[in-house]
Symmetry: C2
Subunit: 514 residues, 2 copies
C-alpha cells in the first residue's frame, strides 16, 4: 500500500514538473540560433531604425514629449515613402492587369490613354493569370522586354554573339533577392571570399556572412570621387589570397551606393580586364543606372564593357524597379542577367530560384514597364517624359542643395553625388566627441547619428554600417525629402550639427579639409 501511494505521489510530482514546474530551456533561444544569423549585420535597417521606431511610437503616444513632430526617414532609398509619386503609365497598366474584367469597361469610357490598354492586353495575354505561378525565371514576354532594353542600352549589334539570351535573365523580387541567389550559388564556405567595395551597400557583407563566406574589402578613394583603382584592387586581392582565401568574385556598385560616383567607361573596362586576368566573377550592381546627374560620366554597363573589350568575363548584373525614377520599392521587381556563364551553372540557379516558385508576377510586369516605357508617338509618352524629367531634375537639385549645405558645415566635407540617391559626408569629429562615443559604447558616427535622430527626428545611417577607412567617420543620407521640406531639413541638421560640435569643442578648430 505504501509503495502504491509513493508511486502515485511520484506520478503526481512528475506531472506537476512537466506542466507546472520550472520549464526546460526552450529549443529555440538566442543561444541556439544559427550563429550566422546572429553575426549578420544590416545597418540600413539596424540600430538607428529601431530607435526611430521607438521614437515614432512615443510621438504617437504624445508622451514623453519630443523636440520634433515627426521623423524623416533618410536612412533608405524609399522615394515613395517621402512623397515621390509613382509614374502614371505603369500604374495604369498594372491596375488593369490586376483586374482584367474591368478592362473593356474602362476602355469604353476612355479613362486611360489607348497605349495603356494595349500594354495591359499584351501582359494579360502573356500569362494564364497574374495569379498563376510563372516559370521560375519569370514571364517570357517580360524577359524579352528586358533583353531588348539591355541590347538597346549597350548598343549590341543585331545578330551578333552579344545579343541577350532570355534564358540568361531571371526576374526577381527586387535586386536584393537576386544578390542572395547569386551569392548562395557561389559561396562554399569561409575560404571563399568576395571582393566588396568599402564603403558598400551592406547587402553584400550581410549575405556573405549569412552564407558563411568571407568578404575581402577594397577601399574606394574618397579623395578621387570615390573611385576604384586597380592598384587598390590588387592590394586587396593579394591580402585576401595571402590569408588563404579563394577569391571568387568582385562586386562593383555603379553608380555607387552609398558613395554616388558614376564610373567612367574606361574604368569599367579596366575592371572587366582585371576580373578576367584574375579569374573573378564580376557582380555588377547597376540599380542606379538611370540616376546620373549633370556632367558626371554617363552610365556605362559592365556588360557593354565586356562586349567592347572582347573579354570573356563571367558577369552577373543586377537591376531593380526600386530606384531610377521609377522608385517602385514596394512592388519588388528587378532582374539578374548572366553573361559568360555556362548553361549547366545556369540550370542550378534556375533550381535555386524555383524553391520559392517565382517572383511576384505584378512586380515582373512592373519590371517590363520600367524597361519598356511608352515610346515617342504613343499617347502616354508626353506625360511619361514630363514625369521622368521632373523626378530626375528634382533629385539633381536636391543633391546639390544638400551637398552644398553639408560642405558649409564646420568639420564636414562631402563629395558631389554624380549618381544614385545618397550623399556620404565625412564628419571630422572633435576628440571629445570621439571620447564621449567610446564612453557610451558606440562608434563615433553611430553616436552622432543617434544624437541627430533624438534631437531632430532625422534618420540617417552611420558610415560604419557601410564600412569606412579606420579613423574616418561618415553618415549616409538620401536626398529624397521633397524640395518643399528641404530647407527645414537643412536647418534642423545644421542647428544640431553646430550645437554638437560646440558641445565637444569642435567649433574652435579650423575647418578640416580632406
Amino acid at each position: 500500500m505504501a509503495s502504491h501511494v509513493s508511486r502515485l505521489l511520484l506520478f503526481v510530482c512528475l506531472c506537476a514538473l512537466s506542466t507546472n514546474g520550472k520549464a526546460p530551456e526552450p529549443q529555440l533561444s538566442l543561444d541556439s540560433l544559427n550563429p550566422l544569423v546572429l553575426e549578420t549585420e544590416y545597418a540600413v535597417r539596424g540600430e538607428l531604425l529601431t530607435r526611430a521606431a521607438e521614437l515614432e511610437t512615443q510621438l504617437q503616444a504624445g508622451t514623453p514629449p519630443l523636440p520634433f513632430a515627426k521623423t524623416v526617414r533618410c536612412n533608405i532609398g524609399n522615394p515613395q515613402a517621402l512623397g515621390q509619386k509613382p509614374l502614371s503609365f505603369p500604374r495604369q497598366v498594372l491596375s488593369l492587369v490586376m483586374n482584367p474584367p474591368v478592362l473593356s469597361v474602362m476602355e469604353a469610357s476612355k479613362v486611360y490613354p489607348a497605349d495603356v490598354f494595349a500594354r495591359a492586353r499584351k501582359y494579360i495575354a502573356s500569362v494564364p493569370s497574374a495569379g498563376a505561378y510563372s516559370e521560375s525565371q519569370g514571364v517570357t514576354e517580360v524577359r524579352k522586354e528586358v533583353a531588348s532594353f539591355i541590347e538597346h542600352r549597350d548598343q549590341v549589334r543585331a545578330a551578333s554573339a552579344d545579343v541577350v539570351d532570355v534564358d540568361n535573365i531571371f526576374l526577381t523580387d527586387g535586386a536584393s533577392a537576386a544578390v542572395k541567389l547569386a551569392m548562395q550559388l557561389m559561396i562554399r564556405g569561409k575560404d571563399d571570399a568576395i571582393l566588396v567595395p568599402v564603403p558598400q551597400y551592406p547587402i553584400y557583407s550581410a549575405v556573405s556572412t549569412l552564407y558563411n563566406g568571407s568578404m575581402a574589402s577594397y577601399f574606394l578613394s574618397e579623395e578621387n570621387s570615390w573611385s576604384a583603382t586597380i592598384a587598390e584592387l590588387r592590394r586587396a586581392l593579394r591580402e585576401a589570397r595571402d590569408a588563404g582565401k579563394n577569391v571568387r568574385g568582385l562586386v562593383i556598385i555603379n553608380p555607387g551606393n552609398p558613395t554616388g560616383q558614376s564610373m567612367p567607361a574606361e574604368d569599367v573596362k579596366s575592371l572587366v580586364r582585371f576580373c578576367v586576368s584574375e579569374r573573378l566573377v564580376l557582380m555588377a550592381d547597376e540599380v542606379y543606372q538611370e540616376n546620373i546627374y549633370g556632367p558626371a560620366p554617363p552610365f556605362f554597363s559592365a556588360r557593354r564593357a565586356a562586349i567592347e573589350t572582347g573579354e570573356k568575363v563571367q558577369l552577373m548584373s543586377f537591376h531593380s524597379i526600386s530606384k531610377g525614377f521609377s522608385g517602385e520599392c514596394g512592388l519588388r521587381g528587378g532582374y539578374l542577367e548572366l553573361y559568360g556563364i555556362s548553361a549547366d551553372v545556369r540550370a542550378q540557379l534556375v533550381k535555386l530560384a524555383s524553391l520559392t516558385l517565382c517572383s511576384n508576377v505584378p512586380g515582373q510586369f512592373a519590371t517590363g514597364l520600367m524597361v519598356n516605357p511608352p515610346s515617342k508617338g504613343e499617347a502616354s509618352y508626353p506625360l511619361y517624359v514630363e514625369e521622368k524629367d521632373a523626378i530626375l531634375s528634382s533629385l539633381e537639385r536636391r543633391a546639390g542643395i544638400i551637398q552644398k549645405a553639408l560642405n558649409d558645415l564646420p568639420g564636414v566635407t562631402c563629395n558631389k553625388a554624380e549618381g544614385a540617391m545618397y550623399l556620404f559626408p565625412q564628419l571630422h569629429l572633435p576628440e571629445a566627441a570621439v571620447a564621449a562615443a567610446n564612453k557610451a559604447g558606440k562608434t563615433p558616427d553611430t553616436y552622432y547619428c543617434l544624437k541627430l535622430l533624438e534631437a531632430t527626428g532625422l534618420v540617417v545611417v552611420p558610415g560604419s554600417g557601410f564600412g569606412q577607412k579606420n579613423g574616418t567617420y561618415h553618415f549616409r543620407t538620401t536626398f529624397l525629402p521633397p524640395e518643399k521640406d528641404l530647407d527645414g531639413v537643412i536647418i534642423l541638421l545644421g542647428d544640431f550639427h553646430r550645437k554638437f560640435m560646440e558641445q565637444y569643442g569642435g567649433l574652435s578648430s579650423k575647418k578640416v579639409e580632406l
Copy 2:
C-alpha cells in the same frame, strides 16, 4: 636584334594565349558551385517539368509530331494556370490600390460595389504608397487583419493571454519564403535535424539540404488515411538522436501535401504535447486550411491545439494566398506567425527578413483580403460566397471523380483526399516495369511519370520527389484541371495506364490491395 625579335614573339604569343589560346577554367563552373546547391532537389519543378518544357517547345515548333496537342500541368498547385478565376473582390480592391488616382473616377461611375472602394481607401491610407518599402514584417494594418483572422478561427477569448501579437506576424512572399526564413534561423549545421513527414512537400527537404542541415523522416501511414502516429514519431526521433542528431523541430503539413489528410483535433493536440515533451519547435504548414472536403475532420490549427492543451509549445505556422479558394500563387503573399518564441529570437528573424527589405506590398494586401473577406451585409458578400462555394464544391467533386477513376485502374490504389489539392495514388507496378525503369536509370515512379507525360501530355510528379516507403511507388497529381476537361484527362490517364501495365505484364495479376 635577335633578342628584340624573340621578346616581341614572346609578347605576341602571350597575347594570343590570353585572348585566343585555351582559356583557363572559368571561376564559376559546375564543379566549383556551392555543393549544397548541387545537392538540393526540388521535384515539383524537377525532371518532369524540364521534360514538359521540352515537349511544349516541340509542340510550338510543330515538329517532330507528338501524340497530344497540349500539356496539362498537374505537377503543382497552380489553380489559375488551369483556368480557376480569381475572386472578384480582392482583385477589384487591388486594381484600385495599384492606381489610387483612378479611385474617385471609378467610384463616381459605380464600376465596383461600395465596399470595394472602402477597402481600397483603407489600404491606400495604410501606407505612403504601395510602391514604398513597408516595414520588414509587413504593413501593420494587414498584420492586424491577420491577427483578427487567427483569433476568430481559433476562438481565442478576448483579452486572454492567447490574443495574437501583431509583432509575431511576418508577411512574406508566399509560404515558401517563410519556410526558408524559419529554417535558416534554426539550422546550424549537419548535426541539426528537422523531423519531416514522408511523403512531404519537398520545400522542407530542399531547404534543409540547402542550409546544410539534416532531415529526419517520419512515415505517414498510408493504411490509416496518411495519419501521423506518435509511435512512429518516437521511432524517427530515436533513430535521429541515436545517429547523433540534435533534432530541433517537427514539420507537420495539415491538411497534407501530397497526401491530402486532414488531422483530427486530438491528433494535433497530441503532436503539440509531443513537441513540448521532446523540446521540438513545431512548424505547422497550414496553407490548405480552407481546403477540407465533405465529412473530413474540420481544420484544427496547431495554435488552437497549443491554446487548448495549455502547452507552452514553440510554434511557427505558415499560411498562403496561393491555395484555399483564393489560388493567388502569382501574387506571392502569405504569413508566418510565431507563438511561444521570445522577443530576442523574433528580432533576429526581423533582421533576416529585412535583408530583402519587405515582401511585395500588393501581395501583402492580397493576404489582408484573404483573411478579411467581405462580411455579411456588405455589397460584395453575395458574390464572394457564390464564388467561394463554386470553387470549393468543384474541387471536392473533382477530387472524388479522379480518386474513383484512379481506384478503378488495375494496380492503383488511392486514398480519399480529405483536404488540399492533391491525390497521391500508389502504383503497384509489375516487376518487368521496375526492371525496365532500372535499366533506364530511373526510379520506377519517375519512369512511369515520364512515359505518361510523353504519351499524353499530363504532367504529374513521381512519389520519389516527396518520399515514400521503400519499394512503394506513387505519383502526385493535383485535381485542378477544370471539370469540362476532366473526362478527357481521365481517359488519357486510363488508356496510358492500361497500355503500360499490359506492356509489362501487369494486367494478368490480380488487383493488389493495400
